[in-house]
């Protein structure tokens, strides 16, 4: 049997807020195989984004185990997590989160630069060309439309050929047209790289493009 790409065993997440401790996720167990595309759906506040954060090592579990590509994330410190993400995980955010003081080309090149890759800019240019932004290389995020920004973010997420792609409402801030373009690029890159794709979305049409859907409600898995 193939080792799962992502394995969560009885994972819980509790956060200390102003109103006291809040249980975001309760005893979640998931295994996702390499190359699978998973859509995570559920109502607002169900814990979808938090689940994604855990998978990306951006949040620490309160209890349980979380294993990505054979590595236990819960045993890593911040720097190790950052290094792990650099080469293995690409993340696409709802609000794009491009660095405003860098051009599209520089934004995309950054993960490779962090890896010490000397061809970072050449590869970044190719990645941007692939998502249809060849003429936007030297534009700053403020000079790009929403769709263009999200495509830039997409290029940045996949440039290091990560094995895991995490997308949090990638079309949430886009109109229908742009959303479709971005979604198409997302799935295209997922198949090309055979990366495991975990996609959080409210958009049922987008969720239906995934091989499997996981429904979360109130911090627990409702259906898989």
């Amino acid at each position: 049997m193939q080792r799962p790409s992502i394995l969560l065993e009885n994972v819980s997440l509790s956060l200390d807020g102003n109103a006291g401790i809040v249980d975001i996720l309760k005893g979640i167990s998931i295994d996702i195989q390499e190359g699978e595309s998973i859509g995570i759906v559920g109502p607002s506040g169900s814990g979808k984004s938090s689940l994604l954060m855990l998978m990306g090592g951006l949040e620490r579990i309160t209890s349980g185990k979380i294993n990505l590509l054979g590595q236990n994330l819960h045993e890593m410190n911040e720097n190790k997590l950052a290094s792990f993400r650099r080469t293995n995980v690409g993340i696409i955010f709802q609000s794009f989160h491009l660095i405003p003081t860098m051009t599209a080309l520089e934004n995309v090149a950054i993960p490779l630069e962090l890896n010490g890759n000397k061809d970072a800019f050449d590869l970044a240019e190719k990645a941007l060309t692939k998502v249809g932004l060849k003429n936007r290389l030297s534009h700053f995020p403020s000079q790009l439309s929403g769709g263009e920004q999200q495509r830039t973010a997409l290029a940045r997420a996949v440039i290091a050929s990560p094995k895991i792609l995490l997308a949090d409402e990638p079309t949430g801030n886009l109109d229908y047209e742009n959303g479709k373009i971005v979604a198409d690029y997302l799935f295209e890159l997922h198949s090309e790289n055979n990366a495991t794709l975990v996609l959080v979305t409210h958009d049922l049409e987008l969720a239906n493009r995934c091989e499997r859907k996981i429904k979360i409600s109130d911090g627990e898995i409702f259906t898989q």
């Binding site: 911040e78 650099r86 993340i91 955010f93 989160h97």
Partner: protein
């Protein structure tokens, strides 16, 4: 990843961030510019004065070297030795006298007389308003010798060229008006305006009789091959016992040198406190900048940047902009003295060489860099608390956490290094440590108060349901975005400095100008010959407006040895050992003298010489009963044993002597008497006329005038210090503006919401103004308290004067705090009001 590689990537990211411009770092740069420029200017002026004193030392001294005697002229052996070392010698006699102008209303005034020979001045030139050279102005006309006088005295006496007056018994005419004297800087503090005459013309004046108080200086032009160190050694070996004091051009004006050094030390420390306030601005700038960059930092972390890379990225940016600020500050500070050049040379009566001096620039750069790093590290350490998960939650505020131990350690090491370097550069460990203590205590007080304000306002606002404007103001103070701590810190430190200086100088001035005249005598009469005393006493006793008078014999001497070893070796650089001191003798202690230790001699005691020494100075010098002092009086060493200590109160400006000897030791030496006279103000002028007419040789020092002169000098000093402190205030104001700018967005949002729910513009603006007033007022009150406490400690323990609060200064400090904060935030508050509500609510602002 290797360290170098990480640094490279950090630099790449930092470079891209810097392309965005300096916005976000303007306040950081401005604070460093002000702080570094101030310290550079102060250091450069001091270096200029030092260089001036060295290069023009000979001019200042009036020769390459100088031999000085008190009460006498050089004897033959001394003269022969001096002549053997010099190519030219000039003899100058310095003393005080009364200048008498006969006319419809007879006028008398105190003057400091310089009686010179034909060789004077050896160096430089006496510049007169009238004649080209001194000799023309002093030449006799119809048998009457000429004199030149300073303008201020000429104006006071209403003299014109050619008018006659008397010095002692001798008539002179006004031959010229003094514009400048080349050796005035080395003359020291004088009570009367300067006049110059030929010494030979004083024969018969009765002014240089044995026992009268004068000093004789022999200025030498030395041979080219002269070895100054060797000469100094020889002079000391041969003539220290005879009372000769030797100095050369390398240290022409030691008093000025010391004064300038102390003032510079103090000003640099004041400048440093300004830089520290700037540090608050730096910390606030970095904090605001990082808040704006939270999303970027979280994004970088999400794509794999380590803590190191992120820290280095922002640290590099801070260092680059810090260097920019330091560079600009250094340049401005270097050219500052050039711009102030004319004013400086006119105001300071000592040579100053205005130039670029690298030492003060380097010191200021080091101070600026260390301050910038120390104050940036704390907010930089918060980068670690920025979690990538904030990208999902749109949180832009991280919880407050103390920096990790390594950051705290680094910050502590840098702060301690800053203090150590300040102590090293200023040369005053004690003053530096006290300043560091004062600044850090003030910081802690202000932080504590700011935190207390936030907690207090939080509790108070709950009770203010019926007063929404006040409640809004208090709510905002409670919130972290208003920057309550930064406002109180930035304006509080500057106001504390102003408050301390204002309270201290006000109290000292009050002690001198108000308290002292009530207890001080009307006149100090000096140079009263022994034979004149009976008649002098009669004049005083016969005048019913004279409430009392004291008298004492006086002779001057120098303490050369203590217990057989050099006095300075025993007691260090104590002021009692610098120069000659007045010594008296009496059968019994003065009425108001209290013996604190030992026993006074019997009235008719004729044994070996005994001394009663001032208790306070004796303790400072490490003296005890039984110690033997060697005092050189008129070239003769007198060994005397300390047999008692007594309290001497100098604060009343009356008669007080550090040393009193038994009569048998001194009464046969040529000496004069001094007397302090207490008279009703209306009788003072007539009293002076009577004494001066009867005894033209007696000099009268009017205490009120002396007080006014000292007061004027103190005012000038405190003005200089206040100017230095102004930069602290300016920096604080800059920081306030920075804080107000950083809260502008929050105010716009708040104003939009309040307008949307129906609040009027006036009520919103009032709320903004109210919080500024509250914070500024609190900062002012705390600053005032700190200033009063500091000033009280200085007055009580350092100056030994009474302390009372100077209310005008207190009021100005509080009002200053309020107004500063209101003005700083006014512009941004008005802008917040003008922003359209809809654009804010659509997040387009």
């Amino acid at each position: 990843m290797k360290i170098f590689q990480e640094l490279q990537i950090s630099w790449q990211i930092a470079r891209r961030e810097i392309r965005n411009g300096i916005s976000g770092f303007r306040i950081l740069i401005a604070c460093l510019v002000l702080g570094v420029a101030t310290i550079t200017i102060i250091g450069s002026i001091k270096s200029g004065i030092e260089k001036g004193l060295i290069e023009e030392g000979a001019l200042l001294l009036g020769g390459d070297a100088e031999a000085e005697f008190t009460y006498r002229f050089a004897n033959l052996a001394e003269l022969n030795w001096l002549e053997s070392k010099a190519t030219k010698i000039s003899e100058v006699v310095d003393f005080r006298s009364m200048l008498f102008v006969e006319g419809e209303i007879n006028e008398r005034a105190l003057t400091q007389v310089k009686a010179v020979d034909k060789n004077y001045p050896l160096m430089g030139k006496v510049n007169l308003y009238s004649y080209e050279n001194l000799s023309e102005a002093l030449q006799k006309e119809k048998g009457v010798p000429g004199a030149v006088i300073e303008q201020i005295l000429v104006d006071r006496l209403g003299l014109k060229l050619g008018d006659t007056f008397k010095l002692g018994q001798t008539k002179f005419y006004l031959g010229g008006v003094i514009k400048s004297i080349p050796d005035s800087g080395s003359d020291g503090f004088g009570l009367g305006p300067r006049s110059i005459v030929y010494k030979d013309d004083l024969e018969g004046s009765g002014l240089l009789a044995p026992g009268t108080l004068f000093s004789t200086k022999y200025r030498l032009n030395l041979k080219e091959t002269a070895d100054l160190d060797l000469l100094s050694e020889n002079a000391s070996e041969k003539f220290e016992k005879t009372g000769m004091r030797w100095k050369d051009a390398r240290n022409a004006a030691p008093g000025i040198n010391e004064f300038v050094e102390r003032l510079e030390t103090f000003l640099v420390l004041v400048g440093l406190s300004g830089l520290i306030v700037g540090g608050v601005g730096i910390a606030a700038s970095v904090r605001s900048y990082l808040l704006v960059k939270t999303s970027t930092i979280a994004t970088l972390r999400s794509i794999g940047a380590t803590n190191n890379i992120i820290f280095q990225t922002y640290f590099l940016q801070i260092i680059i902009f810090s260097f920019l600020g330091i560079l600009i500050g250094g340049c401005l500070g270097s050219i500052g003295p050039f711009l102030l050049g004319k004013w400086l040379t006119a105001s300071i009566p000592i040579p100053i060489k205005i130039s670029i001096y690298f030492k003060p620039i380097l010191e200021a750069i080091i101070y600026g860099l260390l301050t910038s790093i120390a104050f940036s590290l704390w907010p930089l350490s918060s980068i670690e608390n920025i979690n990538s998960s904030e990208l999902f939650r749109n949180e832009t505020e991280t919880k407050f956490r103390l920096p990790r131990f390594q950051y705290l350690t680094t910050i502590s090491v840098i702060v301690l290094s800053l203090i150590a370097l300040a102590a090293y550069f200023t040369g005053s460990i004690k003053l530096t440590l006290w300043t560091a203590f004062a600044i850090s205590s003030s910081f802690l007080c202000l932080i504590f108060v700011a935190a207390a304000i936030r907690i207090g306002t939080q509790k108070l606002r709950i009770k203010l349901r019926r007063n929404p404007k006040l409640r809004w103001a208090l709510s905002a103070i409670t919130g972290p975005k208003e920057g309550a701590i930064i406002v109180i810190l930035s304006i509080g430190i500057g106001l504390s400095v102003l408050s301390s200086i204002g309270q201290i100088s006000g109290n000292i001035r009050a002690a001198i100008q108000q308290d002292l005249p009530d207890v001080a005598p009307s006149y100090f009469f000096i140079d009263i010959q022994k034979s004149q005393m009976p008649e002098f006493r009669q004049i005083m006793e016969a005048n019913k407006d004279v409430t009392s008078f004291d008298e004492a014999p006086m002779i001057r001497g120098i303490i050369s040895k203590i217990n057989g070893i050099s006095a300075k070796e025993f007691a260090g650089e104590h002021w009692v050992l610098s120069g000659d001191r007045g010594i008296t003798y009496s059968k019994a202690p003065l009425e108001r003298s209290k013996i604190t230790e030992g026993i006074w001699w019997e009235p008719e005691y004729k044994g070996p010489a005994q001394i009663s020494f001032s208790d306070e100075e004796g303790k400072e010098m490490g003296l005890s009963l039984g110690d033997e002092l060697t005092v050189n009086i008129m070239g003769r060493d007198i060994n005397a044993t300390i047999t008692s200590f007594r309290d001497v109160d100098f604060s009343t400006a009356g008669i007080g002597f550090i040393m009193s000897m038994n009569p048998h030791a001194l009464e046969s030496a040529p000496h004069s008497f001094i007397s302090t006279v207490y008279a009703k103000p209306k009788a003072e002028a007539e009293l002076l006329r009577k004494v001066a007419s009867k005894f033209p040789n007696i000099t009268a020092v009017r205490i009120k005038e002396a007080i006014a002169q000292v007061s004027s000098i103190l005012s000038s000093i405190s003005s200089v210090i206040l100017y230095g402190a102004t930069t602290t205030i300016l920096t604080g104001f800059l920081v306030l503006i920075g804080t107000a700018a950083s809260t502008e967005k929050a105010r716009k949002y708040e104003a939009a919401i309040l307008k949307a729910v129906g609040a009027s513009k006036a009520s919103i603006l009032f709320s903004f103004a109210l919080r500024s007033m509250l914070l500024g007022g609190v900062a002012g009150i705390v600053a005032l308290t700190i200033g009063i406490l500091g000033a009280w400690a200085v007055c009580k323990y350092l100056m030994g004067t009474e302390f009372s609060i100077i209310w005008l200064n207190a009021f100005l400090v509080i009002v200053g705090g309020v107004l500063a904060n209101i003005f700083a935030s006014l512009y941004f508050s008005i802008r917040a009001m003008r922003t359209s509500t809809s654009s804010v609510l659509r997040s387009e602002y």
